[in-house]
């Protein structure tokens, strides 16, 4: 009778998962090649890309590819990342969150305020990277910009990259910390208990739809 009552819930479908991992992979490459050119101590990483010139050649193309996939991801998830009234409440209680006292937090939907914040930070820094990146892309575009713009773009690119990378570190840690999350992006499934605990409203919603 209630055959589907106990099986795990589908959080991400195959397309969403592939899209995410495409972005993730390109991000790793962009970050490694970018950091290699950013700090002398990491220049050795250019060897991962076939040396300095190749790193210089590849990095912008990797970046653009990442950007394209990220757009896909952004359009998929933007709707569910709109801020809601309860998000402010949730944020104000961030201490309960990091101390694993989730029961005190308001019930939330598919994404909690922290995740939404991350989402929008990624969007902004990605755009910043794209535009500043084009300005400092010496081989094709720098010729069109004044030296002042180029200098500003160089700094902006570095800052945006820093923000992005830091955010992603947080993102990754969160996945490790909140047990049962990684599965959402590998198998695409989460346990009903996980959903009920972390995303109660979404849990209800899914159950309702299952009727």
């Amino acid at each position: 009778m209630n055959s589907n009552q106990n099986q795990d819930l589908q959080r991400y479908n195959a397309n969403e998962r592939s899209n995410h991992w495409a972005v993730a992979l390109l991000f790793v490459m962009a970050a490694l090649s970018g950091l290699a050119l950013f700090h002398p101590a990491l220049f050795w990483m250019t060897n991962l890309f076939g040396g300095g010139p190749w790193t210089r050649i590849l990095h912008p193309f990797i970046g653009v590819a990442m950007m394209l996939f990220f757009l896909g991801l952004a359009f998929r998830f933007a709707g569910r990342n709109r801020f809601k009234a309860h998000d402010r409440q949730w944020l104000s209680q961030w201490r309960d969150m990091i101390s694993n006292r989730e029961e005190n937090l308001p019930r939330i939907g598919k994404y909690n305020a922290g995740q939404k914040l991350l989402f929008w930070v990624l969007v902004v820094s990605m755009l910043a990277l794209l535009f500043s990146g084009i300005v400092i892309w010496r081989e094709y575009f720098s010729g069109f910009f004044g030296i002042g713009v180029i200098r500003f773009a160089s700094l902006l690119h570095a800052v945006a990259a820093f923000v992005l990378i830091s955010s992603i570190i947080v993102h990754i840690y969160a996945a490790i910390w909140v047990k049962g999350s990684v599965g959402a992006m590998t198998s695409g499934k989460v346990s009903r208990a996980w959903a009920r605990k972390h995303h109660a409203l979404w849990y209800d919603e899914v159950r309702k739809n299952q009727r």
Partner: protein, 309 residues
């Protein structure tokens, strides 16, 4: 190499050998004696085996009209009318200034692609150049150029190959009127002072030396009739310095960002140690059982309307 050890390398965090002390050299360009004959341009290309494109005349004497990867120095001509209505033809030999604090070297991400010798010469090593163009971004004088042929950055080397064997640069040797002189930086400053005295005697009250402190001084200096208005000489920057943006980008940003990223990772690590993972508890699973049980009989009151449909 004896005459010029590398004292600074691009993208290198540890100090370069800096125990040996050798003379600082400098090239002094006396715009008040220069006749704009372009011998320096030709000698430079001849010595360095460069042959630029045969261009066009665009209505001025300047040719090539700008520095390129194949033209490391060019003459810039400016016609200036004095308040008395007399004409001055201000001619400036443009090229790398060999800054004491080189913006190109600061900006370069490739270790050793840009070096500064302890005699003051700033040199590019095309073998290590990755062609990113950061040197252009960093240069306060807009000097380096990336070659279309090989995507490497090029500029005046102050003939480091000649200087290393004890010769003067090619442009210096060839200069017909002695408008370009070469020697230790101290001697060049002395020479400049002597020239400036002569010029003041001839009515150029503002004659002076161009050795901009903003970049820690340069190893290519100018004697100008109007040192108070360097911009008259085809926009020679009045007070050049490495742009604060470049300074931030290649200065504080680097360690800070690295530190911050490391800190973020560390924070996670210690959070995991101290507070530990966030797991689904037995209660949660039981609750789920309950939910499904209720689901069997009647619809939940608690559920209410989801706020995300």
């Amino acid at each position: 190499m004896a005459t010029q050890d590398i004292i600074a390398r691009s993208a290198t965090t540890t100090p370069s050998p800096s125990v040996r002390q050798t003379d600082e050299v400098a090239k002094l360009i006396d715009t008040t004696v220069c006749i704009g004959c372009k011998a320096c341009q030709v000698a430079c290309s001849e010595w360095n085996d460069l042959r630029d494109e045969v261009g066009d005349n665009v209505g001025v004497y300047d040719n090539p009209t700008d520095l390129t990867a194949d033209s490391w120095t060019v003459m810039r001509f400016d016609e200036h009318e004095t308040s008395e209505g007399d004409l001055e033809w201000l001619i400036r030999k443009d090229g790398c200034m060999h800054c004491e604090d080189p913006g190109c070297l600061k900006a370069c991400p490739s270790p050793g692609a840009i070096v500064k010798y302890d005699n003051g010469i700033v040199d590019f090593d095309q073998d290590k150049c990755i062609g990113c163009g950061y040197c252009i971004t960093g240069c306060p004088f807009d000097v380096p150029r990336i070659s279309q042929k090989d995507n490497k950055a090029y500029k005046c080397t102050l003939c480091s190959d000649r200087v290393s064997v004890g010769l003067e640069p090619a442009c210096v040797k060839t200069c017909p009127t002695g408008a370009i002189v070469f020697g230790t930086k101290d001697d060049m400053k002395e020479h400049a002072n002597w020239r400036i005295q002569d010029l003041k005697g001839r009515g150029y009250e503002n004659a002076g030396l161009y050795d901009p402190p903003g970049v820690g001084g340069t190893h290519v200096m100018y004697v100008l009739h109007h040192a108070d208005k360097p911009q008259l000489y085809s926009d020679l920057p009045r007070d050049p310095a490495i742009s604060p943006l470049v300074g931030a980008w290649k200065g504080v940003a680097k360690p800070l960002a690295m530190l911050a990223m490391a800190a973020t990772a560390a924070a996670g690590f210690f959070h995991y140690i101290r507070i530990g993972p966030n797991r689904v508890s037995k209660e949660d699973e039981a609750a789920v059982e309950q939910d499904s049980a209720q689901a069997g009989s009647n619809s939940p009151e608690a559920g209410g309307k989801s706020d995300e449909q």
